[in-house]
Amino acid sequence: MGRRDPLFPNAAIVARREYRDRTRSRLFRLSTVILMTLALGVAMAPITLRYLDRSSVDVIVVVAPEERLAAATVATANGIMNIPRVGTDAATWMPPYVIERGTNLAAATEALGAGRIDAILEVNRAADGALSVVYRTAGPANGVLSQLAGFTALSVGIVDWTRSLPPGSQLGAFRTPEFRTESLNVPIEGGQAVDAVQIASRSFLGTVFIVLMFITILIYGMWVATGVATEKSSRVMELMISAASPRQLLLGKVVGIGGAGLTQYLAIALPAVLVLAFQEPIARAALGDAGAGLPTGGLTLGLLAAYGLFFLLGFTLFALIYAAVGSFVSRPDDLQTLSLPLSLIAMAGYLSALVVLLGGGGPLSRLASFVPPFSPFAMLARLMVSTVQPWEVALSVGILVATITVVALAAVRIYATGVLLYGQRPGFRAFVAAARRA
């Protein structure tokens, strides 16, 4: 206790043993390969789904009592639903919807029930000349398609109304107006606000990142706690504590086990992130223009670096706490009870980040992005989908580093006391007393 041992080389020796012990196990290798395959599968899912769906189009049948009204509805629906994305080669582009005229409602309904068509757009005219439009589907209606059908109904109404204008009125052909959304609080890249499609992509990616961070911190944090508890339950701790200081042991363990976790994490995540980062070119290579607009654009090196930084800091913070907790149990089984409060804290950070990603970044979410242990989650989410000033990132990182330093000092004290205790159920007061003890 009074002795001040240098951190190295013992911390490095402990870290190396912990790292080798885990990474050399057959279970570690097997689980890494399985998880890597799964992650690649998930990352490739949008491309795979689109590939499988590349030749299928939705068939929508228009049924109307009047020839002219039916023709106007088909033309309007085509104008609204079948719009190629900007930059798409019109020559090779294939419309996602086939919109055709049906002969009668009974036949169309029979075809819908049999699955030969995907929807019916039924247009009727009342006695007073007003139009009514019904969008019929076999199952629950797709939200986006319902909206498009609604726009089509409105547009058909306008087109039909213009026919009542006096003869000779000079009206051009109906043209769908260009439409876009602009928001004040959005990320800026190269001096330009990131567009809505990119933000939607980033929101999707942010959710993936936050979920990964949450799961990883919990799993690898438990590795650290279990490592400490196992060393204690096997009583090898009695030998260790005389050979190395609590500081050397704790940091060596966090670095070694954390390193093994990071190795597995990188092995799993790196191929998947690469696929996500290059998804657009991969999709275009596999699908041509049909590969445009997948929901994973907007991933930049800056965002990846931010993710790496906040992940490392968040993991270090939680791993130190897990190590301290692990030192207080006599058997690894007891960890289940003690790890629950920690999981709930991580869950709070995860939820605060999700709120930001879903567009609810209010003052509380902003505050959470500065307050550990929520900040690694919340700040990363803010970086993904909103405007964040550089000083805010610096402040968040600074507070996090300072907190890690304080937690490390307390964790060393708790660990030094905890590893010598056997046969008692630790409570909150025991942790505080241990942290205060010099």
């Binding site: 041992d5 020796i13 402990v14 043993r17 009695e238 005389s242 050979a243 190395a244 205790l421």
Partner: protein
């Protein structure tokens, strides 16, 4: 005292909450000697060793080695064999011996070489590459002993080193301890096994409830004892049943063809002999022997060194 005094436990006090584990405890260990630290469970032996190692800090008092506070000494000064044995179950024997020695600053190649030589000496050279969990408890204990001494510490602290060893391994361990002492190391061990302590220790301290109640060389302790031991044999029956009920007799132990009588303080051997003869017994052997270490222990502590509640409970409560 033998040689130069080098390990000095000076008025050390340690409390765990309301429990006083060490109460102004003091004793000195001569350099290059084997020192016995005797006490019942809960007497404070493990706490004392942990304070020597710097794992625990004393509330008062100091521990010094060769005039330097233990907190100023490198960890490799000490070798420690804890009472609670433990190894990494899935790590090979050789790997963990090298690992522990590396933590004490020993070069891995040399540690590997020396570890193999110690394994050979302890008759388990073929176990070097086996996992620790594949070894018997006795062999694991030998590996732990090697882990404690491999880095060649100046002082070796061992908590109950003989527990669980069969006679062959016990002899091997005793031999190794004597050899280490002859090489210049200072050895301190706690034990319940009075015979082992009597056979090995040049000096001892008996501790009870955190205080040293007796200390000195084995000869000094025996000479200072008020305890009397008689060895007596009678014709016809080796141990007459009524011996234990005689006045002045504290305990009767069977010996090889005789009975060993532990007398109460103040009881005189001649009075016991007179009482035996008065019963008409034909005495074939009567010998006033030196008191055993166990008798000295009982004289100072008031009970034999049996199992009692440990200080672990007090340490747990204190946290």
């Amino acid at each position: 005292m033998l040689g130069l005094v080098t390990l000095d436990i000076d008025h050390v006090t340690k409390r765990f909450g309301q429990t006083v584990a060490l109460d102004d405890l003091s004793f000195r260990v001569p350099r290059r000697s084997i020192f016995g630290f005797l006490g019942a469970n809960g007497a404070g032996k493990t706490t004392t060793m942990r304070i020597c190692l710097g794992i625990l800090r004393a509330d008062a008092g100091s521990v010094s080695w060769d005039g330097r506070a233990t907190t100023d000494l490198p960890r490799r000064t000490w070798g420690y064999l804890p009472e609670e044995r433990g190894l990494y179950p899935r790590m090979s024997v050789l790997d963990q011996l090298v690992y522990f020695a590396s933590l004490y600053g020993m070069a891995p190649d040399r540690a590997r070489h020396d570890a193999r030589s110690w394994l050979t000496r302890f008759r388990i050279p073929d176990y070097a590459d086996r996992r620790a969990e594949e070894l018997s408890k006795g062999n694991q204990q030998k590996v732990q002993f090697i882990a404690a001494i491999l880095h060649e510490p100046d002082v070796l602290l061992m908590d109950e080193p003989f527990t669980g060893l069969d006679p062959v391994n016990l002899a091997l361990l005793r031999e190794a301890l004597v050899e280490l002492r002859d090489e210049g190391r200072t050895i301190v061990f706690s034990t319940h096994q009075m015979e082992a302590a009597e056979a090995l220790c040049e000096s001892l301290a008996i501790v009870d409830q955190g205080r040293v109640v007796a200390s000195g060389t084995l000869g000094e302790l025996k000479r200072g004892s008020r305890s009397r031991t008689i060895r007596l044999a009678a014709e016809g029956e080796t141990i007459p049943s009524w011996l234990g009920e005689m006045r002045g007799v504290a305990a009767v132990r069977p010996g090889a063809g005789f009975a060993e009588l532990e007398l109460l303080p103040g009881a005189e051997p001649r009075d016991v002999l007179a009482a035996v003869l008065a019963r008409g017994t034909l005495v074939t052997r009567f010998e006033v022997a030196e008191p055993s270490l166990e008798a000295i222990f009982i004289e100072h502590v008031g009970r034999p060194p049996d199992d009692e509640p440990t200080l672990d409970d007090a340490e747990a409560d204190a946290a």
